[in-house]
Each structure stands twice: as structure tokens, then as C-alpha cells.
């Protein structure tokens, strides 16, 4: 295989794996990496195989660009779907990513659940609330059937603003924590 064919093959694979980026971005990256390969071989006298080995597989190099884009978009986004997708990608990279992913799932379920029950309360007032028996918490949320006496519901219609406020706060906090973790992760993803 000639030197130029080897370089072309590498750049074709790189272009292929840079899929989600815009055509202009993709072509600029391919041009830059092509220049790097030629310069590196020329300046160090190393073979193309050595230069390509030092760059790493085209797929892995492309993945670093794709991750950068995904995390950059997510760290500015408010959409739970975009944020969860980015944390899922983070979870494939190590233990801290897995922790962030599960915290994100927990935060969204908890916050979403609270908001949902706050909205359901006017429709099923007897089945939604916080039940106590003496000083012991029995249950909370929307339950069918509602806990039987002696357990009693303590918040009444106050449940609505409290659940909506706590739920929104949890969702906001979860979003903030995910975005913060994504920004930090960007600075620590580089390979040495």
C-alpha cells in the first residue's frame, strides 16, 4: 500500500466517523489531521504506520470530536433528553460518569414525580398527599387505594404548591449538576 493510500484510508475512516458534525467542520478536521500526518512523517522521518499509530485509530479520534460536540451542546441545553444522552455517553467512560448518570435518572424521576403528583392532586385529592400515623411517615405521592386510617393525610391542598415547588427545584438542581459535571468532564477527558 502506498503512503498516500494509507493516509487516504485513514482520513476516509475519520470522515466517516465524524458523522454528526457539519460538513464544513468535518472537512476542516480532515484537512488538519492530513496536514499533521504529512508534517509529522516529514519532520521526524517516522514511517506513516508509526505516525498513524501515534494518532490512534481514526474511530477513536473521531469519537473525541463527537463527544466534545455532544457535551458542548448538552452543557448549554435544558432538555432532559439531550442531557441524559450526554450523561449516558459519560457513563461509558468511567465510574464517575456512571454515578452522574444514575444521579441524573434519580433527580429527573424524583423531580418529575413530585411535579406530576402536584398536578394530579386536584383530580384525585383523596389519593394524593403525605400520610402520617402518629409521628411516623406512612407514605407520600399518589396512591390507589389511599392509606387507610389511622394513617391521615397532613397537607391537604397545600400539597400542590409544595410538590410543584420541590419538584421544580429538584429538576433545576439536577439540570445544574449534570451541566456542571459535563463541563468538568470535558477538561478531564483528554488522553495522555
Amino acid at each position: 500500500m502506498t503512503t498516500e493510500t494509507q493516509i487516504d484510508n485513514y482520513l476516509t475512516a475519520l470522515r466517516l466517523h465524524l458523522g454528526p458534525l457539519t460538513i464544513a467542520e468535518r472537512e476542516e478536521i480532515v484537512l488538519e489531521i492530513g496536514a499533521h500526518i504529512r508534517d509529522s512523517a516529514e519532520q521526524t522521518g517516522a514511517s506513516i504506520e508509526t505516525v498513524l499509530a501515534r494518532l490512534g485509530p481514526a474511530e477513536e479520534l473521531a469519537a473525541q470530536y463527537r463527544d466534545g460536540l455532544l457535551i458542548r451542546q448538552a452543557s448549554r441545553s435544558l432538555s432532559p433528553l439531550v442531557l441524559l444522552r450526554a450523561t449516558l455517553r459519560l457513563a461509558t467512560k468511567g465510574l464517575s460518569g456512571i454515578v452522574v448518570f444514575f444521579l441524573a435518572i434519580f433527580g429527573y424521576l424524583m423531580g418529575g414525580g413530585l411535579v406530576l403528583t402536584g398536578l394530579i392532586k386536584p383530580i384525585f385529592p383523596a389519593n394524593t398527599g403525605v400520610w402520617f400515623n402518629d409521628d411516623q411517615l406512612v407514605s407520600s405521592g399518589t396512591l390507589f387505594p389511599a392509606p387507610a386510617p389511622p394513617a391521615h393525610e397532613i397537607l391537604g391542598m397545600w400539597y400542590i404548591p409544595i410538590a410543584l415547588m420541590l419538584g421544580s427545584l429538584t429538576l433545576l438542581l439536577t439540570t445544574f449538576l449534570i451541566r456542571r459535571s459535563l463541563r468538568i468532564s470535558q477538561q478531564l477527558q483528554s488522553k495522555l
Binding site: 488538519e32 496536514a35 519532520q43 488522553k191 495522555l192
Partner: protein, 129 residues
Amino acid sequence: MAIQRALPADGDQPDRWEAQLRKGAVEMAALASLWQGRLYGLEIIRFLESQSQLALAEGTIYPILNRLKAEGMLTSEWVEAEAGHPRKYYSLTDAGRQRLRQMAEAWTSFSRGLSHLLESVLQQQEKIQ
């Protein structure tokens, strides 16, 4: 007198810690390499190798430069070279310079504090040796 290891007998623990430490510094080092003027990717890699102990995997620097550019810390321009192909040169923007100054101040004050803390550890180690 034997020195007891603070870490468990997992040989690669200190290496992993050092790798994490270096990873955190790559962004600052990449910005710092451009303080004196514009450079292209391979020059940045060579500069970091010669001026610091940061031997990067070669493919690593380009996605970082791409991200720093997207964040407005760097600008780039294509320059025709004698090599027969254009090269992409990176320069610091004003925002990049400001961020680098902040990072340098934070790094210096942090490392000064830690050096002070570790002085007695290193002195004690010298005595043991």
C-alpha cells in the same frame, strides 16, 4: 526504616492519580503554548513535550483545540506552507488570554499552598533516605 505506603498495594494507583493530575492541566498547557504567538497543532505538541512533562497522545490535542475554539478561547487561520499543504494556526483570543491568566493565578496559588504543605513530607523523606 521502611516507609509505609499510604495507598493500598495496588501498584497503578499513584500512576492513575498522576494521569488525572496531568489531564486537568492539558487545557491550561495548550493555552499557555500559544502565549507567545500562533502555532499549529504539531508545533503545540512539540512545544508541550519540550517545555513541560506533558507528552500527549498525538490525537488528543486536536479535539481539545477544536473545543477551545468553539468556546471562543482560540481563533484559527489556514496558512499556506512550504511543505506543500496549508497548516491550521491557532492564536489566543482576548477571552483565551484572560482565562489563561486566571488559570495561571489559580494554579500558582494552589501549587504554592501544596508545596508548603508537602515541604515537611519531602524533608522527612530525605532524612529517611
